[in-house]
Symmetry: C2
Subunit: 362 residues, 2 copies
């Protein structure tokens, strides 16, 4: 029987991986900090942030991936590790940076060093599409990668990257795993550093690691309205408060919204692969395969919940990318995984599903 450790297993995505692994008959342990600023005030060693009790078949270790002693306790007797614990989102401002780095990069280093110590050789890592920076675009001379958008352009409402040659907006296209990596905010920096650490670890110890670059994950149990929540959750929370969802930029930002149950299944496929795989390190995009705009998500959620129509505000967050949509074909070809949840059904479900309690404000 596979003995799996899920770090961050009380979280939004981690919790869904735990459920899927239990369904598969695996023996599951969770290492989770139950930090109030991540999980909300109701989280404890017994319950996730949604208030749902943790399945009694799961062994819970309360502790931090940044603490070598906690990590050693959590790793004892484990075959394979799913590393989901992370501080997510774009943060408030640059003063968040040290906490992002400690939680995500130091946490991964301590975990991987602990795995090296006890000879665990199989890892699946939660990564993100943000490692690409701006998505891929077709310009006059084929594939092109525009630089980060300037504050002046954003202030003037010029949201779409322009072709430096023609001055016309570039046409967004799907990005694949061979694309150059260009993290443009602190969170993205920490996710890429996690991948690089996993790659060094795999080469150093002869291990096998897969990084899953999640697209925009949504679904029941997603964290509520916080600076760290995803855009779908922010819309959902606004509708619930009786407010119109506020859509940044012009709402035409292209994304791929992938359901958390599909993401959990992708993780199980990857966990199988790293236990038998010989490749040191691989990265896979994990998306639904369907492109939607941020504005479409706001409209779908408002419609499903009978809420107010979305308002397009023109606001922006520096470091956000304009369009980022991935090809998940490599994951299908190599591991046989494909997303199966539909956008319409998923958004309808999400419009009224229980969310994770709001986190403690700082």
């Amino acid at each position: 029987m596979t003995r799996l450790l899920v770090t961050g297993g009380a979280g939004f995505i981690g919790g869904e991986i735990v459920a899927a692994a239990l369904d598969a008959g695996w023996d599951v342990r969770v290492l989770d900090s139950f930090r109030a600023d991540v999980h909300g005030p109701d989280a404890s060693g017994d319950a996730s942030g949604t208030g749902t009790p943790i399945d009694p078949r799961v062994e819970v270790v309360t502790g931090s991936v940044t603490d070598p002693a906690d990590v050693a306790r959590a790793l004892a007797g484990v075959d394979v590790v799913s590393h989901q614990a992370a501080k997510v989102g774009l943060g408030v401002d640059f003063s968040d940076a040290p906490d992002y780095v400690t939680s995500n990069v130091t946490g991964s280093a301590v975990l991987l060093a602990g795995m090296a110590d006890v000879g665990i050789r199989a890892l699946v890592l939660a990564s993100s599409m943000v490692v690409y920076g701006e998505g891929a675009y077709l310009g006059r001379h084929g594939l092109t990668r525009p630089p980060a958008r300037a504050r002046d352009d954003l202030d003037a409402g010029r949201f779409d990257p322009l072709d430096p040659e023609t001055g016309l907006p570039l046409e967004p296209t799907l990005i694949d795993e061979a694309a150059p990596l260009d993290p443009r905010n602190v969170y993205a920096t920490t996710k890429l550093a996690q991948e690089h650490l996993a790659s060094s670890w795999a080469r150093s110890v002869g291990g096998s690691a897969i990084a899953l670059r999640y697209h925009n994950v949504y679904g029941p149990g997603m964290p509520q309205n916080t600076p760290y929540a995803g855009v779908a959750s922010l819309f959902r929370s606004a509708i619930e408060r009786g407010e119109a969802p506020r859509v940044f930029e012009d709402g035409a930002q292209r994304r791929d919204f992938v359901h958390v149950r599909d993401v959990a299944r992708a993780n199980l496929a990857a966990l199988d692969a790293v236990q038998t795989g010989s490749d040191a390190f691989r990265a896979y995009n994990v998306g639904s395969g369907h492109v939607h705009t941020v504005g479409e998500v706001a409209s779908a959620l408002s419609a499903a919940a009978g809420g107010q129509e979305p308002v397009v505000t023109g606001e922006y967050r520096l470091g956000d990318v304009r369009h980022i949509t991935a090809s998940s074909r490599r994951m299908a070809d190599d591991l046989g995984w494909r997303a199966t949840e539909s956008f319409d059904d998923g958004m309808r479900e999400f419009a009224s599903a229980p969310l994770r309690a709001a986190v403690v404000s700082r």
Copy 2:
């Protein structure tokens, strides 16, 4: 008068930057941990690891870049920061990873958050050629980047990356700053994460940052024989012990050895530029512009010191790159800096120059 903070200013490169800045008439403060495992047992708030007293014109703050209070003390009243503090080298094994991450990545995040707090907008960061991974090569179809070398190939003495198409060794060429980044060990991962943090910081606060990607820096005051020392220092230490310098692989690894005084001058040019510059983030290669092999360095040092002939051992370190030589042309074009010290003179001087005391073993 420019008020400069040099983190790691008691170290090998930091100390030379301090000396150059004092010569330029700047007001200099140093933040240094004086960690025994970095600076050796003789380091203290009064003396660098070489035992040389710190210039009395320098204000010394003993503390860590990972400590927000130490950083705040060190930043008070400063115009521009030279961030040299780092744990360097390839390390012993993966158990070193958490300390590398904390020292280098968390340290940079805390420093940059502190700078954001007090409105300091100008930064020069010590980076490294290791962010490129393997250097650039010319294959059958032009510029190519081979994957990391496999343990099997290295064990069999196949050190040169092969053209996947022809099976013939690839021809190494100069790498420039536009090349893709591919850090292949923990140290390289932390250096690239520092660059990405500096870039995010600059965009977030409207600051100006330059990362200097040092080639193999050598010169008086270099740390002695440790797992963290550079290859020139290891050779020098072996010769001093009356042993033959042990050259790894076949000795034909191509590098660019740049003198620490040239590196200090490059830093001053960059420190000038970030105080007036508008570009958010730039990276420059810092090399001598002359390619040498590791074997040539061993021979030059042995000859200069009258030591034993080098021995080529065929040993290797996983994660080392085979050839990495950079073009420093962008730095010359943009900032007018060029290396001026000659290889022959520099190696002769280095063969008998005082080194930094051996670090405390772990």
